[in-house]
Symmetry: C2
Subunit: 157 residues, 2 copies
DNA sequence: TGATCTCCGATCAATATGGTCGTACTAAGA
DNA sequence: TCTTAGTACGACCATATTGATCGGAGATCA
């Protein structure tokens, strides 16, 4: 039902946490280790570890080895979008499994499919939505989503 | 990865088909039976049947029994939104599994969860998106989604 | 050198999903 | 009224995805 996976969920929490530590008034620039996050949010340690590994491989965070090691944001919180985070974990956003189909075209219904185009548009809109929101936005009390309410003039209802 | 289930996919195709038959120039008001749709779009017959049953139980389409039976839209194509169709099949839209949590609150991370509010906003936006688009919109060549482009100023990247 | 971290790959269990079958019920038409 | 073409319904299995676990290897610092 259009659900985000738990791993991606954890990724969001973790990044959010790291960001708030780095940006925070106390000990800015401090590295955060896996255990700290896992305990804070009740996330299974090993699973979180794996998630963080992926994130670092994708270049969203930097890892520092050895004792006193841990993770650090690779860039500013305002330059990391929700879309990037989710896609790092779950792969490219695909609302239907034939969204990003190669020319090979293995979708049985493709030939007469009457809903492909509109669905792709929807997918695109969702992507925009996720890509317009950054980690920074999630932290601050700043207005989060600019799409729906007043800006939705032009569209009805 | 934020995917729509195949069943919902089939539901969309089927409704779209029924709508286009009813709205079409030829044989308007004709009932459409399961087999016809299944063959047209290469959908496994029994599965489609089950999907249609659910849709009719949800009141989106009417079923007519017996020979020469089949399905008919219950209301105008413009009054059926994509959100309604998808939710009929997959249940209420929940971007994360603790979205619609009762007060019982079984989510382990709820206590310190730092991403709940923003995620709920995103979910809401997606819902708006799906609920602003009707079957009618999908059929006609009318501009489908009006949300993204202009309103997305303000934030960007 | 040893303790404390991250890194990586393999693996298992639970759940959700896609798909199938068999039977009962209903209405049209011969 | 009997047959037939259709839906209604529920149980069922197979497979894919996801969540979660384990074990060891490599790095860094005291
Ligand atoms: S479902 Fe694959 S192309 Fe429409
Ligand atoms: S994940 Fe359940 S409340 Fe945030």
């Amino acid at each position: 039902m259009l659900k985000i996976s738990k791993k991606a969920d954890y990724a969001l929490m973790a990044l959010q946490h790291i960001a708030s530590v780095q940006f925070g008034d106390v000990t800015p620039g401090r590295v955060v280790n896996t255990k700290e996050i896992a305990e804070e949010y009740n996330i299974p340690l090993e699973l979180l570890a794996k998630v963080l590994q992926v994130l670092s491989k994708q270049g969203l965070i930097e890892s520092h080895n050895g004792p006193k090691g841990g993770y650090l944001l690779a860039r500013s919180a305002r330059q990391i979008t929700i879309a990037q985070i989710i896609e790092s974990i779950e792969g490219p956003l695909a609302i239907t499994d034939c969204s990003h189909e190669k020319d090979g075209d293995f979708c049985m219904q493709r030939e007469h499919c009457n809903i492909r185009t509109p669905l792709l548009k929807i997918q695109d809109s969702i992507y925009q939505l996720l890509n317009n929101m950054t980690l920074g936005d999630m932290m601050g009390g700043t207005p989060l989503i600019t799409i729906q309410s007043p800006s939705a003039q032009g569209v009805e209802r």
